[in-house]
């Protein structure tokens, strides 16, 4: 729309704001090249199949095969349910512990706060390979310190080769992952807690709300949006997980596929393993399903939860 400013007689065009495009360009280009194009490439790959050496368009046939074939689908559902347990343990253990640690750290009477904060956060910056290897060694029945430590307190009978038993392996790995990543919810919630203005807390104190009650009634509602963000980050990270399982249990995700999650299933299918040759199309099908599962989870969160969260601005 043209606006003629009175008096001057000049025509003011709305400025084309080129700088926006210029500033966005690097991020958009890089993101498109390394994220969006491969994503669509993967989805495209999942619609094709190699028939007699040729890539042939088969529509959703790969998805039908993956979910319809008795063996493949049982592997898929096993991986999905293991993945859900993996996620559930993170939600039930990692995030409450993260909140607890943050609450303790935000207490101004605690000494050596910075030291604790750093110590708890350090595992997060370690590589999966180191974490997996160290824990495998700690829990090793032969050279590990776990059996010896239990022996010292007379509880040797409680020791089990946790990583080698179907009933414990997945939980053990989940807890290792919790140990590694508990620093992230702790940091985010810690930041949210210390940004709560003093006057609100003082007002609460005037009304006689102190201690635990203050945490439940005042602080927790104020940090709920942060907890929501942490949940969704955990969800995305867990359903993309692969490294820890691969490092500790190998691509076959033993014992007896009890630690097989979508990431390891995808790896075995896409790249092949030992004598099994890789199947890029079926692998891409699994990758696409993983994307859809994560997308669905994020959508549910955004539409059903995020919009109902009440935000307080100070």
């Amino acid at each position: 729309m043209l606006v003629t400013s009175p008096g001057s007689g000049q025509v003011n065009k709305p400025q084309r704001r080129w700088h926006i495009a210029v500033f966005l360009a690097p991020a958009v280009l890089v993101y498109t090249a390394i994220m969006i194009l491969p994503l669509f490439g993967t989805m495209q790959l999942s619609l094709y199949k190699i028939i007699e050496g040729q890539q042939v368009f088969v529509g959703l046939d790969n998805f039908r095969h993956l979910l319809g074939d008795e063996r493949l689908s049982s592997t898929f559902w096993n991986a999905l349910s293991n993945n859900s347990i993996f996620f559930l343990i993170h939600m039930l253990v990692q995030n409450p512990i993260g909140i607890l640690l943050a609450a303790i750290l935000s207490n101004s009477r605690l000494r050596f706060r910075a030291w604790y904060r750093t110590a708890i956060f350090i595992p997060t910056i370690l590589s999966f390979v180191i974490v997996g290897f160290v824990w495998k060694l700690i829990l090793s029945p032969l050279w590990g310190v776990a059996p010896d430590l239990l022996d010292l307190v007379g509880l040797k009978s409680l020791y089990k080769p946790w990583l080698g038993k179907e009933q414990y392996a997945l939980i053990t790995l989940s807890l290792i992952s919790v140990w590694q990543f508990v620093g992230i919810p702790m940091m985010l919630i810690y930041a949210a807690l210390i940004s709560i203005p003093e006057d609100i807390l003082e007002a609460a104190e005037c009304d006689g709300i102190t201690g635990m009650k203050q945490f439940w009634k005042i602080k927790l509602p104020l940090i709920l949006p942060t907890i929501g963000i942490i949940s969704i980050l955990t969800f995305v990270a867990n359903f993309n997980a692969f490294d820890l399982i691969y490092v500790t249990q190998g691509a076959l995700a033993g014992p007896d596929y009890s630690t097989d999650i979508l990431g390891t299933f995808l790896y075995r299918t896409f790249f092949g393993f030992q004598l099994q040759l890789g199947d890029k199309n079926l692998g891409a099908t699994i990758a696409s399903l993983m994307f859809l599962i994560i997308l669905a989870g994020v959508c549910i969160y955004l539409f059903a939860i995020q919009r109902r969260l009440r935000r307080y601005t100070f």
Partner: protein
């Protein structure tokens, strides 16, 4: 100006003709004197052995041919080789992985058929089986080496406990019981954490005695036998008894753990593959012995897994085909077999010529070829082409059976059902 131009032109003309001449001279020289061969391989560990021993021995006999050994990292080899072959820049000689990986290269026309190579006559059918078309007509790699399965044991421990080498199943378990009872040693060093140990050193190690080696393996391929037959379930029934003799927490014991447990002298018996020989010789400070997988009853014929592991073939597009064939013929000779086997004890030559090995443990292993019938791992040829992949499933089933979480019959049935779902003999 003009003159300078002219001078320049003449000079450049001269220069060009000189380059042309020298290029001509060079290429003429190559044709007259040396054919250069390059070997693609994943055995970068063996680089010095090739450069210092094998290649000089060949070049001394064949002065017209120069050979370069150009290995890449084992994990990258297949991918690197495929892209080089596609681009037409691969070497003249190609080290072959066993079975389908190399068969695929032959089918795509990258590897030449060696049906008319005279040296191929030095190899048995079992030796050739890893690098031959399904119809058995076109071999495409010269077999280089195999690995043999058996049990390595701590001789000192056996002497201490007054044990003799077990020959039958009953002896074997009696020995294990005795070691367990005495308590100083873990009877057997193996873990199920990595799964392949259970399948490779367990199932494929003892199995051939039950399914009678090649007879059973080929029966499985032609459909006359099934994994649920008694002879295929029997090895699982044996494995089911092993769990009791493995170390505490063997469920979480990995392959390096097992090796260390044995070389530290804490375990008496190690279900092995011959590739362990070099490492064990270096790390164990006690005397090592080896014994054949025990047979069901005394006097039974014995069968061993003598698994073809590495071969060498010719790039179909090689410009030095004749020289490459000369080299391959030499690889098929007794001279190469002896050189290679002594440089790498535990990787045994596959040719029919008798080879003298210097390492006593390696000698013990290779002597079994005289006494027993050889076969290869049952799951490697043809049967692992589809999904569910029989080899991977065998890893899983063997580990389950040892831990007792799946019965031998159930495991066998699951494998057979999985195989039957895609394989029609």
């Amino acid at each position: 100006m003009n003159t300078t131009n002219k001078v320049n032109k003449t000079a450049s003309l001269l220069a060009t003709s000189m380059i042309g001449l020298s290029a001509l001279g060079l290429s003429a020289g190559v044709y007259a004197q040396d054919a250069e061969l390059t070997i693609e391989s994943w055995r970068n560990d063996d680089l010095s052995i090739w450069q210092d021993k094998i290649i000089p021995a060949f070049e001394a006999k064949h002065p017209g041919i120069k050979v370069t050994f150009a290995p890449s990292a084992p994990a990258e080899y297949n991918a690197v080789l495929n892209s080089k072959l596609e681009a037409g820049s691969a070497g003249d000689l190609i080290t072959c992985r066993p079975f389908d990986a190399s068969l695929a290269l032959y089918d795509q026309g990258y590897l030449a058929s060696l049906a008319d190579l005279p040296g191929m006559g030095n190899f048995s059918d079992v030796a050739k089986s890893a690098w031959i078309t399904d119809d058995g007509k076109n071999p495409f790699c010269v077999p280089m080496a195999s690995v043999i399965h058996g049990f390595i044991y701590n001789k000192d421990a056996f002497a201490e406990l007054g044990l003799s080498v077990p020959e039958t199943e009953a002896d074997f378990f009696a020995a294990l019981d005795k070691i367990k009872e005495q308590g100083d040693y873990i009877p057997m060093s193996m873990g199920t954490s990595d799964q392949w140990e259970a399948a490779t050193m367990g199932y494929q190690n003892i199995g051939p005695n039950y399914w009678k080696g090649e007879e059973g393996r080929l029966g499985l391929i032609d459909g006359s036998q099934s994994l649920t037959d008694a002879q295929w379930v029997a090895p699982y029934e044996q494995l089911a008894k092993w769990g009791a003799y493995l170390g505490d927490g063997y469920e979480a014991q990995t392959y390096p753990d097992s090796q260390n447990l044995f070389t530290l002298g804490r375990a008496a018996i190690y279900p092995a593959g011959s590739w362990e020989i070099t490492g064990f010789n270096a790390n164990a400070d006690f005397e090592l012995g080896a014994f054949i997988p025990p047979v069901a009853a005394a006097g039974n014929e014995c069968y061993i897994s003598d698994h073809t592991d590495i071969g060498i073939g010719m790039n179909a597009k090689s410009e030095n085909a004749d020289a490459a064939k000369t080299f391959l013929n030499w690889v098929a000779s007794a001279e190469f077999a002896s050189l290679y086997a002594n440089a790498l004890p535990g990787f045994f030559p596959l040719s029919n010529d008798p080879v003298t090995l210097e390492d006593p443990l390696a000698q013990e292993f290779i002597s079994w070829r005289e006494k027993c019938n050889s076969t290869i791992r049952s799951t490697y040829q043809i049967l692992s082409r589809g999904t569910p992949n029989l080899e991977n499933e065998t890893w899983n089933a063997s580990a389950n059976v040892i831990k007792g979480t799946e019965s031998p019959a159930d495991a066998a049935k699951r494998l057979q059902d999985g195989l039957a779902s895609w394989y029609k003999p």
